[in-house]
Symmetry: C2
Subunit: 130 residues, 2 copies
């Protein structure tokens, strides 16, 4: 079966994160995309998102490895919800398993872009202040 | 703090489900909305969604009670991701707690409509066939 274009976009994003290819990475986000950096802290727009990923790469000592162990896509016209089993790894720390939630939107030229990137899923509820 | 209009829409939907007021209920969905009836089985569009809710009401012997115990909303322009703590109750069965995921979209007249309704969240992975 052909893979869903969103699956290919996420694979491209993971590879770009792991290679620290931030130019390729931010191309996958819409202009006003929202990225959850950690529960209670969001980045909005390509400039903030790029800075967040640069900081995340440094935090993991430039050895971050992100991959998806499974993915479900629900699509309604130009909008899609992705439920993913995301694994975040780095040397010397146990792998982190996340129930990630992403929203993608198809732009007028037919490309799916990430508009909301919440790799924490319902772990947002662990942050009590908002 | 003023409540988010999406929170009010979800409250209206829950009340409509519990009262079996399907006219009000389907008004909250976009024309091509997708509802996960159960993992692996979706309804698409207002007609199918209405039929699904009629069947769900009958399944729970017309005593279904749906409510949200908590909600986080992530918004990017006209699209929003909702992470909710949903409780589904009926007499004589233990309440079901779900980590629900909803996607809403603001229509041109400024109303937020549900485009993807997946009350099962990552429990979609419990269904192996798709």
């Amino acid at each position: 079966m052909d893979r869903h274009p969103i699956e290919l976009q996420i694979e491209k994003a993971d590879l770009a994160i792991n290679r620290e290819d931030f130019e390729t990475l931010i191309d996958i986000y819409s202009d006003d995309a929202v990225l959850v950096i950690k529960p209670g802290m969001n980045a909005t727009g390509k400039t903030q998102i790029r800075k967040a990923f640069e900081a995340i790469a440094a935090h993991f000592n430039h050895k971050l490895d992100v991959k998806q162990a499974g993915m479900k896509i629900l699509e309604s016209e130009d909008t899609a919800l992705v439920l993913a089993k995301t694994i975040v790894s780095a040397p010397d720390v146990p792998p982190i398993h996340r129930n990630a939630t992403y929203v993608f939107k198809k732009n007028p030229s037919g490309h799916w872009l990430c508009v909301i990137d919440n790799s924490y899923g319902h772990d947002l509820f662990l942050h009590a202040d908002d």
